[in-house]
């Protein structure tokens, strides 16, 4: 059962300019593995070396931030809409 994944502009180079792609999986982690097969290079933009979701990447299932659910183990179901949103952050020279 594919779910719809919204890809942010900065990652569309990896998805052949598509802003919306389909992926299959029962958890967010599974979806990421499926996306990596279809669009190699996407996983390292989302996950660090240990496989954890990067601190500055926000992922939502419908309206919910997966950080406040079960993270990568959060289950997804048919019809869910996943949004990937890189954070906006920075600072000043101290």
């Amino acid at each position: 059962m594919p779910v719809k994944v919204r890809i942010p502009t900065p990652l569309r180079r990896i998805t052949a300019n598509q802003g919306e792609v389909d992926a299959e999986g029962v958890t967010i982690g599974g979806l990421i593995e499926d996306l990596e097969k279809k669009y190699p290079g996407l996983k390292e933009r989302l996950c660090d070396e240990t496989g954890a979701i990067r601190r500055f990447v926000n992922i939502y299932i419908n309206e919910e931030d997966i950080r406040f659910m079960q993270g990568k183990d959060t289950s997804v179901k048919d019809g869910d809409e996943i949004s990937i949103i890189p954070a906006i952050a920075g600072g000043s020279e101290v």
Binding site: P10, D65, S83, G91, S92
Partner: protein
């Protein structure tokens, strides 16, 4: 080139002054390089020398921009005590290579300085902003 109506520039400067000594941040959106919508965002970073946009608010803005059929053109934040140029952390955390990063410096409080930059693959390039 990015064109920003003058009233948004005034709003950005007010936002920076209100937030000082902390950093302010926000998003400018529009079409064909002209800003039509400004979103003042909350900075959820506790460190006074950093900013992190409230993720939930940012998600709402992403959806609003999509619904309006416009694009995120620029991301702004303030440097309350330092010059208007991207810091090391700004460069490292620039995840939007197509957006113009605008920095408002309040280093000289009488004379705020606003500059725009493209930050791509760790390289910073100043880009002109037209105010009208």
């Amino acid at each position: 080139m990015l064109t920003i109506p003058k009233h948004f520039i005034d709003d950005i400067i007010s936002h920076a002054k209100e937030a000082a000594p902390l950093e302010c941040c926000g998003i400018l959106a529009g079409k064909d390089g002209t800003v039509t919508d400004m979103y003042k965002m909350n900075n959820t970073e506790n460190d006074p020398d950093k900013y992190l946009m409230d993720a939930k608010e940012q998600f709402a803005v992403v959806k609003d921009i999509r619904a309006k059929g416009i694009d995120m053109l620029a991301i702004y934040h303030s440097h309350p005590h330092s010059p208007a140029r991207p810091s090391g952390i700004d460069t490292k955390l620039a995840f939007y290579p197509d957006a113009i990063y605008i920095i408002i410096s309040l280093q000289d409080s009488e004379m705020p300085v606003i500059k725009g930059f493209l930050i791509r693959d760790g390289k910073v390039e100043e880009t002109a902003i037209k105010i009208n």
